[in-house]
Subunit: 319 residues, 2 copies
């Protein structure tokens, strides 16, 4: 569910008056997404998405996110283009929140990604990295490795109710990650949350990359590792090397991975699994009764983590 | 939240093959609605709504609901038109459910209905009643007065935890309703759930009436009573007679209310308040932890009921 903030029709009309987008024709809440309130908005001039920023998004980061989307759009990447109002602003107050209107992207996200989806996704990810290379402003990854141990501590002893020994297991994994995490591999703007529901396909090609609100300046290969976690495991948590090979080949067709990036893949994959495991674990333990969001099973990422710990080298990812 | 059933892109493509609607261009879950899964579907030929029927909707009723919508559409009412496939069917299996595609209706539902909205809603309700008059098939109201006492009994003693004495109070109200409920006033096809979120407006006029899945053959004036409950109370539960007068005048401009219908309005309004109070109460007591739907406060309807019990005659509704 992704409508936390109700927008009255009067508020919407007043908000739209700031823009050169005509009058509202239809306005429906969008079910997908869990971080922000999203509305599908049709006006007399076209289709748009209206987003009200909630919860995890720090308003201070919004100009960076929207600037990145504008930058990537201008370079031909199919990502939402933030629309500017009469004064040039792409962020405005609405219903007690900060809101933005972005362009509508066609396409359908793949509920069961296949090998071909993984290949196209890999290519799109590399194109995103290349297109973002000259976006100069940096944003530290607010869910990077330094945040994982404090997040685990905040989950407290309750984590062990979910799985006996989970806390100790994760402490040990974090020790290992800290010892092996790369330092000097190529970095730049990464999406950091490119799951299948953030990638639209149309006629077999990527038609949209959305939801840049975890984007940050970090290792490109870490973004690859996130995608390997998000796209290449089956519903029984087995790793599909055919998919990861397709994803990596798609990526490599546009951007090469240095030796150090390749070698770091196993630990980066562990880190990516831990990052999603921990935020899901925290949400699992802290989602109030009757909340609107579906709690996602943290252990789905513990199972991925177990695979990545068993990996002998990057060759196991099909590279 | 209104996506209970996930539809994969492969399932969607196979489903669309049955219809003459081109290929999918966009497919997004719609947040509004609590009974069914609704998707906004754009194809190469236009915009549609895809509905998968869940929970409360009995599949045996679906042909009646869809037949009514088709009937009303053909008579110019702005309601969703169910699309027929190559074989003439407007219902087909999808993802383990029965599903239908209907036309997309423009407009925005009024978050804070004003007097003008009430006037237009009243007129649209009368037009719905007139347009449905020659839809011959009948459907008993599965949430009519006969069902209220059993529903209260199923809520058990827990109702009194919500408000002390609530069960006894409702038993007494039901005695009064049973004694005064009309028998021979005009009846026909009613919507029975015409709340603001089921009515779209565009440029100040009604552009869409949706969600016919509580529709039934019952007293027209009971439908009016439901709308008085749904549209004419302020957020502090005070009754706004200016709005009810506007609603009734809008209605009367298209269909007159007989003396017996007018006189029955107070008890019909009590009944309508009880109907929504009881289903909300039942849901409140039976919504599992972590469910996707927002539980709606049953006592909002107890406060409305209290008003209707204080009414001396139909004149208090501004008629």
């Amino acid at each position: 569910m992704a409508v936390y903030t109700e927008v009255t029709d009067e508020m919407l009309e007043a908000f739209l008056d700031r823009y050169d987008l005509g009058r509202p024709v239809a306005f429906r809440g969008i079910a997908e997404g869990v971080e922000n309130s999203n509305y599908s908005l049709r006006t007399t001039v076209g289709d748009f998405i209206l987003t009200l920023y909630e919860r995890r998004v720090d308003p201070i980061d919004l100009p960076w996110f929207l600037g990145l989307m504008e930058h990537l759009s201008a370079r031909g990447l199919p990502c939402p283009l933030p629309i500017r109002d009469h004064t040039g602003s792409n962020l405005n107050p609405l219903a007690g929140r900060i809101a933005a209107i972005t362009s509508f992207l066609p396409g359908v996200w793949p509920r069961k990604p296949g090998v071909q989806h993984c290949a196209k996704l890999g290519a799109a990810l590399a194109q995103l990295h290349l297109a973002g290379a000259d976006y100069a402003a940096e944003r530290a990854n607010s869910l990077g490795p330094a945040t994982w141990r404090p997040l685990l501590r905040r989950c407290g002893t309750e984590a062990d109710n979910l799985k006996t020994g989970l806390t100790a297991d994760l402490e040990q994994t974090l020790d290992n990650i800290d010892a092996r995490w790369p330092v000097r591999i190529p970095r730049g703007q990464i999406h950091a949350d490119l799951f299948p529901d953030n990638v639209f396909f149309l006629d077999g090609n990527v038609s949209g990359l959305i939801d840049f609100y975890f984007a940050a300046t970090d290792f490109y290969a870490y973004d690859v590792a996130i995608c390997l976690n998000a796209w290449c495991f089956e519903s029984d948590y087995t790793f599909n090397v055919t998919k990861s090979q397709a994803l990596l080949r798609g990526y490599l067709a546009h951007r090469s991975l240095e030796e150090a990036e390749r070698e770091a893949l196993p630990v980066l994959c562990q880190g990516a699994a831990v990052r999603f495991l921990l935020t899901r674990l925290y949400d699992w333990l802290n989602t109030p009764r009757g909340a609107l969001v579906t709690r996602k099973d943290p252990l789905a990422y513990w199972r991925r983590l177990r695979f990545h710990r068993s990996v002998r080298s990057e060759a196991d990812y099909g590279i």
